[in-house]
Symmetry: C2
Subunit: 231 residues, 2 copies
């Protein structure tokens, strides 16, 4: 896509629009990967698990394409102020989107390793946590697409609830393991699934911080809700 672009006389606005479209597409892919990962946990949907674990190359390629186009834009168009911040933020945000995709793929792969029958453990907590994280991710991607600093602040403020739920899940899963050591293997995978959900929430918060900076030129305070849980 980037190479073709080099052969056409494209306006600056068109190229910036192309970066935005690629970011939106990348956001769409990781959102649906996250939805598939949740279906893999909640419904033990193996097809969804397989699909979610296979998006990495597509997301990685988009990350590289955004960067190549951003570098081209920086080199040829010398963007200033808000546009420059937007392009720099886009390159940082792709890193977070790529990591979200990694986390979703990791969740999906782990659901395939759960012992049959153990999949019901903690599924309620994981579903609630997953819904909160999905909602935050959706709002972060919307804020990104709409350059919405208010929306970004809302995402940034919501991450504490995810961290609290994660801490509760950690305790619950350790208790299960202690009560029935036969569940240890599955529970360790469920622990890492919960951790991956928490990390996706963390990356959504990062995206929100980036969107806020790109749209306002200011940083959100350094003391972040994203300090993260203790466990």
């Amino acid at each position: 896509m980037v190479k073709e672009q080099a052969h056409t006389v494209s306006s600056y606005e068109q190229e910036l629009g192309q970066i935005r479209a690629m970011m939106a597409r990348m956001g769409g892919i990781v959102e649906s990967q996250m939805a598939q990962a949740m279906a893999a946990i909640v419904d033990r949907d193996e097809e969804a698990a397989m699909a979610a674990s296979e998006c990495d190359p597509q997301v990685d390629a988009l990350e590289r394409d955004v960067e190549a186009l951003a570098i081209r834009l920086l080199a040829l168009r010398a963007p200033m102020a808000g546009d420059l911040r937007e392009i720099v933020s886009a390159m940082k945000i792709t890193g977070d989107l790529e990591r979200i995709g990694d986390c979703a793929a990791s969740i999906a792969r782990r659901t395939l390793k759960l012992d049959p029958g153990d999949g019901r453990m903690s599924v309620g907590g994981l579903r609630t946590m997953g819904r909160m994280v999905q909602e935050n991710l959706r709002r972060a991607i919307d804020a990104m697409a709409q350059q919405d600093s208010e929306g970004a602040i809302e995402v940034w403020q919501s991450d504490t609830a995810v961290d609290e739920l994660y801490t509760a899940m950690f305790r619950e899963l350790v208790t299960y393991m202690m009560e029935d050591p036969r569940t240890i293997r599955s529970c360790t995978h469920l622990l890492f699934i919960a951790k991956n959900l928490e990390r996706i929430g963390d990356h959504a918060t990062n995206i929100a911080e980036r969107v806020y900076y790109a749209t306002t030129g200011d940083q959100l305070p350094v003391v972040r809700p994203r300090g993260g849980p203790a466990v």
Copy 2:
């Protein structure tokens, strides 16, 4: 630091040198944070653990400073080709360095939660894994400082060994838990410590990829050793 800079007439080369110096400093901080985290695991050194868990604000501030200076440089100096790639890569690399710092802090905090006596479990494997990751991190930071594409390739090739060791640690820790359920709480922390080491190795690989791209203009192959372990 960035604000002061604005009041002096500084050459382009000086500003680029300043970014390199800030990156080197950031690398130095996370390397010593990683060394402290290892002392916290291997020697149960609580002071080192406390020190490692307190570097975040310093690393976060440096990440912001590098970005602010990079944006200034992009806006005022319109760098081209290799310099442009270096500046863009620097902004991406700070993200990996910041995450390495987070992982080291997380390791350090978890060592403080181990039950007394349980700290010896798997310490041999963690020490070996830690040494490999420390070595990779050191080489990645050296490659970054020296713009050394050959060094970057070596780091990039070494990550598979870390992943294999992580998988072995995972199995070992699950076995400990099954044999003696009283160790479950400590073992879950040790599992996450091993995972954090593996992630630090992953970020060192990312840095190597970035250095390779900045120095050569080419990407390393998409099929990366960094696909990561299955567990």
